[in-house]
Symmetry: none
Subunit: 206 residues, 4 copies
DNA sequence: CATGAATGAGCTTTCATTCAT
DNA sequence: AATGAATGAAAGCTCATTCAT
């Protein structure tokens, strides 16, 4: 369903969704290549397959495109994360599965992740908060899973910290690829991070 | 000594260094506020206390300013990190000290850290590599310290991974402050991260 | 009867007239607020109660709307002016009545008058002439009335000049309201202008 | 001295004045031809003899140009009006001289007058008021002259009304030239208007 | 007849960079 | 060495108009 944080002149919501998807796809391709600021609205229109006039029928400002892109990426990450494991039955095994899926997801969506974290800052306060809340939600999912999975009790803060660490280690695979991906295969990276994670939680490898 | 990656028309190296320091200071203040792309060269000149013409006597392009800024921040981080502990006598205690200092440093220099990691992407390939090498160097320092400090042997890759984790956990204090700094004091953050670090390395708290 | 200076794709003349009246009403409301140039065709369509596509079924260019508006205003002024007095029986008394009516009319239709005189210039030559001829006609009516009313003979040119003066004094009530309407009530304005008019024509107040 | 209602990036006030004069001259030429809204900033720059970038060194928005133009025209009218007669020694003869000069001035500056009264409406409230105050001042000059010149006393309101009438009759020579200038020479126009003016004031022609 | 999505020329404005003084 | 006026490519955005449905 088309995002209604962003105003469109076009009424047909089905069309709005379709066009915005084209737009998001086109914009991501361009943002990957040159970042938000160096991409022009004309380029976005062309890459999306329509004219500049049409682009502006579906958004109001260039920033709207960025918002749509960030929002779409978050939703995609979340959807895939939710589908990746059994969140209803917490267990160390399922936690491991979640973490592994998350790392694989970050590998899959490297470029999108880089775009998102590097450009959200360009959103204005309100929109930025809206988007960051989605991150908060996902961290909370993981947080909850951690607390429910562990055999022993864990302090609330500790669970939150670990959840954040996992998140950042996932993102780091994308952001620091120039450093990490020369030294590690994805498999090795996952395996070693998982090892240290379990170790730090004093859990014997299953 | 003035950075000679960037070409200046002015010969007097002392003057070049002085002017560039003014420029870096001014630019950082502005980048903190509005980011690199939204800051104009005119503003940088004014904030630095000289004219736009003079600015261009000491650099060649706007990107040069960004480079100078990133470079200066890295140097500052490195200097302070080096001064913060006894790197010559590796020990778990010294490792802890280094890690703690690093986290405190990241707290101190939050804004600069954010600038750096959010804007390096705007540097062109060659310059970016030059800057990222400085990051590599610092990670290497930590890596080496880890390997030398631990009572038991640690795989080369593992040390590198831990070093990266520490780095990213430090940066995360700055980048995710909207999430972390509501839940943790710096002290608590350091304490818990250190706890998990030692735990994951199977070291009993000293 | 719908104005056939402006071409319409729609055949049904009754409908054309109905739609154009909606359009004129909508456009006047908008022109009052923001002038012709700052009003968009989309706004005119919306304000008129139909779609942009429909708007263009009844006109060919945006300028057509302006023409229709000016034309309608002139017709309205003329209709009301004609109805306001007994033009068939010239007399000083009737002349006075006409002048008073005209001033009251200008007060009533201030905004419309302002629109018309401020935007006609945007019409292209031919249409502008068509519209200005209506003004000429009205001045001629007054001119004729003056010549027929006065006890003594008056030079042709003089009658024309006086007719123009009266017209402009009426418009001035609308255009210079920021200056005049602070100092005069409409009644006082009419009374004093009439006084000077009669005086200049050497007629004793009836 | 350069108008400081409008902000300029250029510091050299002499230069600012020079460039703005070029700009005003260029803009008037264009506004005469096509009006404010149909004239582009690029055209103004080209006509003024400099680049679009330079234009914007001396103004902030397109509206600034319009303001500068209106302001300059008013100042010119006022200067010429002040120079045209002996304002210090009121007398019917001098009043006649003033009126005649004013009419001649309106003839001379027809195009400018048309621009001004047709485009002031596009200024925003504050600037418009600033400009209209200049009109008020001039009307006040005339008003004062009328009161001081007449042999008999005249009511305050009446003097103001007569002053306004004279003003509007002057402007009408420019605005209604399509109607008046076919029937009257300037000389005749002045002569007849003066005749009716004196008549209405019950003054015997000198 | 009515609709409204699509178009793209064209607008105002910005800003990195140069260069004469 | 320092200045700041000049430049113009290029950006974001608007809007009159068309035309398939």
């Amino acid at each position: 369903m088309s995002n209604n944080q962003v105003v469109s002149s076009v009424k047909d919501t089905g069309l709005v969704e379709k066009r915005r998807n084209q737009m998001i796809k086109g914009a991501i391709a361009l943002f990957k290549e040159k970042g938000f600021h160096r991409t022009t609205t004309r380029e976005i229109a062309r890459e999306s397959g329509f004219s500049i006039g049409t682009l502006y029928e579906y958004i109001r400002t260039k920033e709207d495109v960025l918002f749509l892109v960030c929002d779409a990426i978050y939703d995609q990450v979340r959807d895939r994360l939710e589908a990746s494991a059994d969140w209803q039955n917490p267990s160390v095994a399922n936690l491991e599965k979640v973490v592994e899926s998350f790392f694989r997801l970050m590998d899959d969506m490297q470029e999108e992740i880089i775009i998102m974290y590097q450009e959200v800052k360009s959103l204005k306060k309100k929109t930025k908060e809206y988007v960051l809340n989605k991150e908060r939600d996902m961290v909370a999912m993981l947080d909850k899973m951690i607390r429910a999975s562990l055999p022993q009790a864990i302090a609330k803060q500790d669970a939150a910290l670990i959840a954040n660490n996992i998140f950042v280690q996932g993102q780091m695979w994308a952001f620091r690829r120039w450093m990490l991906q020369k030294q590690f295969t994805l498999e090795a990276y996952i395996e070693r991070q998982m090892h240290f994670l379990l170790q730090s939680l004093a859990i014997d490898k299953v």
